[in-house]
Symmetry: C2
Subunit: 96 residues, 2 copies
């Protein structure tokens, strides 16, 4: 199932979200959309995609939904995610 995961990664909003989530903490949709600068429906839908691929998991907390990286990712997939996030960060540094 590597292909759906690559598709999930190959979209700027989603990659951005994963970059943020890769701090290991939980983040609600409202925070992600604020930081990324996305509309609400757009952010929500992208998080659904990430959830369906198994890359992230969510948790209801009052009126918020907290997302975080799936801690039980298969090793191969985790390695891909890690390499991708690293590359995204490197790229960001060069831009700055």
């Amino acid at each position: 199932m590597i292909l759906p995961i690559l598709s999930a990664l190959a979209e700027p909003t989603r990659l951005n979200a994963l970059r943020i989530l890769s701090d290991g903490e939980e983040h609600c949709v409202c925070e992600l959309m604020a930081v990324i600068g996305a509309t609400q429906s757009r952010m929500s839908r992208h998080m659904q995609v990430l959830k369906q691929t198994g890359l992230v998991i969510d948790r209801r907390d009052a009126q918020w939904v907290r997302y975080r990286l799936n801690p039980e990712l298969p090793k191969d997939i985790a390695a891909v995610l890690d390499a991708v996030v690293r590359a995204a960060r490197t790229e960001e540094r060069k831009a700055a």
Copy 2:
């Protein structure tokens, strides 16, 4: 430029081609299309995409065009490619 690379990887024919090319050897289009089971135009176009992202380079050799992995990939990108190919291989083993 990680996003175009992820897009390039997120397509079965291209991922398959990269899996084959990851042996480090040169492979012509005719070989790739035969092994993968793709039509000629399809294979050719996908190789163009891979070439344009910089993942592979090509070389004219008589009437053939030999493709191989770009040996000068940035480290971050090479790490991503490596992780992805590994994951693809692992998946293939499970299927068998």
